[in-house]
């Protein structure tokens, strides 16, 4: 009878493709919208995650996210260094500065000041120039997307200059950096160079980055740092989640986007479920006919589930494929760079599509089971 179920499903090519594409379209909506949302939220923490070497971030107790900072005195670095379990600790500056381009235009930039000797927090992949060039006077490295903002449609060229806080900065390198949530260019400089570019303030230090000794308990270390310094110490993932939640709570963007995701999800499931449900309902009479001819309810359920699985698997694969292909094709578009369908989203979409297809088949199976076989005469 599986063969009959297969024939019923695929007998009408157009209808069959229609159902599979209904489910595929539903999967695309779910996977694509969720992927964009997740990728966007990931951007809020890209600068935390890019600093791969740090295990613990120490910051001012009033810090709410990686983009809402309160400075610390430089002396905090040595306080943290004194805590047992700390392998090393270095300072990191992160702030917004205004740069003047040679053509007189002003731009807001994200400025990262890296520990002068270790350069912890430096970009991991250089496209032009080298990290070592940061040691030159007034040297800065800019991210590729930022370069395109500042110098649109111009070839990548080192040696260009910017002016910040009346100080000259020379671009000595172009790097790859994860795009930030606010799509500002990112400049990297040594800590003491960055200090000259930023507006004068009593304190300058944004974070103390900590590497743990092997075998140290992160939670315990954070607690000890907090006790010793009176500051907040968070592991990288705690800090990242704090930032994500800050964005979700304090800005409208994730909420609005969340609504779009929810709509994509609802519309997607509705389409996927509806198409399959209608398919079975349309076949109700055929199933009734088979029941009259001696097919048991158990067999009927098997047939419908087989159809559901075929439709679900095919539709889902096409849908996820289309979503992944979208991000593959757009990976060089700055606004979508780094966007992807993470496996968690793929899995969640699979669960959602599986759930909805099974739900709609259960609903339609119920109809088939309560179907008076006498309908065959109507």
């Amino acid at each position: 009878m599986n063969w009959v179920a297969w024939k019923m499903l695929t007998g009408d090519r157009t209808k069959y493709l229609g159902i599979v594409f209904g489910v595929a379209f539903g999967s695309v909506l779910i996977a694509h919208q969720t992927s964009i949302f997740v990728s966007l939220m990931r951007r809020t923490v890209s600068q935390i995650i890019d600093v791969a070497d740090a295990d613990v971030w120490v910051m001012n107790e009033n810090v709410q996210s990686v983009d809402e900072l309160r400075p610390l005195p430089d002396t905090e670095v040595s306080v943290v260094r004194g805590v047992p379990g700390v392998a090393w600790a270095v300072g990191l500056y992160k702030g917004m500065v205004t740069a003047r381009q040679p053509n007189g235009l002003h731009r807001q930039l994200i400025l990262m000041g890296l520990d002068d000797s270790s350069l912890v927090g430096a970009p991991r992949e250089m496209l032009y120039g080298s990290l070592a060039d940061l040691r030159q006077p007034d040297a800065v490295i800019i991210d590729k997307a930022g370069y395109s903002y500042l110098f649109p449609n111009q070839p990548y060229q080192l040696g260009r200059t910017l002016e910040m806080n009346d100080r000259r900065a020379v671009i000595v390198g172009i790097c790859k950096a994860s795009p930030p949530f606010q799509t500002f260019p990112i400049l990297f400089a040594r800590y003491n160079v960055a200090r000259q570019y930023a507006p004068r303030d009593r304190n300058f230090l944004s974070f103390v980055l900590v590497k743990m000794m092997p075998g140290t308990e992160p939670a315990k270390l954070c607690q000890q740092i907090q006790q010793r310094s009176g500051r907040v110490a968070l592991t990288t993932s705690q800090f990242a989640w704090m930032t994500v939640w800050y964005y979700i709570k304090s800005t409208g963007i994730p909420i609005n986007f969340g609504i779009t995701v929810a709509l994509g999800f609802i519309v997607g499931t509705a389409i996927a479920g509806q198409t399959f449900y209608l398919f079975t309902i349309e076949n109700l009479k055929q199933f009734g006919n088979l029941k009259a001819m001696g097919v048991t309810n158990l067999r009927i359920i098997q047939m419908i589930l087989l159809q559901a699985v075929v439709v679900g698997v095919l539709g889902y694969s096409i849908g996820i494929g289309m979503s992944a292909m979208f991000f593959e094709v757009t990976k060089d578009v700055t606004h979508l760079a780094g966007f992807q369908t993470p496996w968690q989203v793929a899995l969640m979409t699979a669960v959602a599509v599986g759930f909805i297809v099974v739900l709609s088949s259960v609903l339609s199976i119920r109809k088939v089971l309560v179907l008076e076989p006498a309908v065959v005469f109507r």
Binding site: V4, G11, M293
Partner: protein
């Protein structure tokens, strides 16, 4: 040596006693069948006729075990309907009953041969074997050359012949046809009925045909007339011929269309 007693009456395939059936609940409850007593003999075509809404379809649904009666007893080939429940009933039906419907009810995705093979496949026969047996049956209904056509490529009359092949392929002991000619033109209707007479009638099979179509009355061995959920009259072929030869009688078809008028005073002929 077995001694078989000569049958005076034909052997009975289905026997109904006091069948009632209600639809609806409470105030909207209506009784559609009011105590039906009916025997359907083997080796004959029994026609079930009567005005629309009199309960013909309800009665045959109950006879086939597709619908539960509200009251009364049915015996199908010696098995009481009470002993046939659930999966056992479904399998009993699959094995012993063939169906022909007004709208043919072929699966559009399957070819004629595959459709005709369904009862065998349902019974568990391997597909190849079932389809090849179905081809033979299609030969007997004159469609050997259309075995690989889809229903949409066949005329209504041809589809109904495929349906007859499907209903007979597993050699059931009861063939039930609901309005098999209603969707067909006169010519195709005749063909279908001739086919039923020729291939369906078998000493070990009962054929029950519900019809409105007075053109097919002549194909029945007995005609059961229903009105308002009751059997009004049962007439054998011999009795009809006798009526026809009476000088004053109107043509048979008209008589049967207006059973109330002509036979209103006649009692049940059981």
């Amino acid at each position: 040596m077995r001694i078989v007693a000569p049958l005076v009456e034909p052997a009975i395939a289905v026997s109904c006693r006091g069948i009632t059936r209600d639809f609806g609940d409470g105030d909207t409850r209506i009784r559609v069948l009011h105590g039906i007593d009916l025997d359907i003999p083997l080796g004959e075509i029994t026609l079930l006729v009567g005005p629309s809404g009199c309960g013909k379809t309800t009665l045959i649904s109950i006879v086939c075990g597709l619908l539960e009666p509200t009251g009364g007893d049915i015996t199908l080939f010696g098995e009481s309907h009470q002993s046939l429940r659930g999966t056992r009933l479904v399998q009993f039906r699959g094995k012993n009953i063939g169906f022909v419907f007004q709208q043919y009810n072929l699966l559009p995705a399957l070819t004629a041969a595959e459709n005709a093979a369904l009862p065998l496949i349902i019974a568990g026969m391997p597909r190849r074997q079932a389809v090849s047996k179905a081809r033979e049956t299609l030969e007997t209904v004159g469609l050997g050359n259309r075995a690989d056509s889809k229903p949409s490529q066949l005329s209504g009359g041809q589809q109904q012949r495929v349906a007859i092949a499907r209903a007979l392929v597993h050699e059931p002991r009861l063939l039930v046809c609901d309005e098999p000619t209603a969707a067909l033109d006169a010519q195709s209707g005749q063909t279908v009925m001739e086919l039923l007479r020729r291939v369906a009638v078998h000493p070990d099979r009962a054929v029950l045909v519900v019809t409105h179509d007075n053109r097919v009355f002549e194909y029945g061995d007995r005609i059961v007339s229903m009105t308002d959920g009751r059997i009004e009259k049962i007439e054998t072929r011999a009795q009809r011929i006798a009526v026809r030869s009476e000088p004053a009688a109107e043509p048979i078809a008209n008589e049967l269309l207006s059973v109330n008028r002509v036979f209103g005073s006649v009692d049940h002929v059981a």
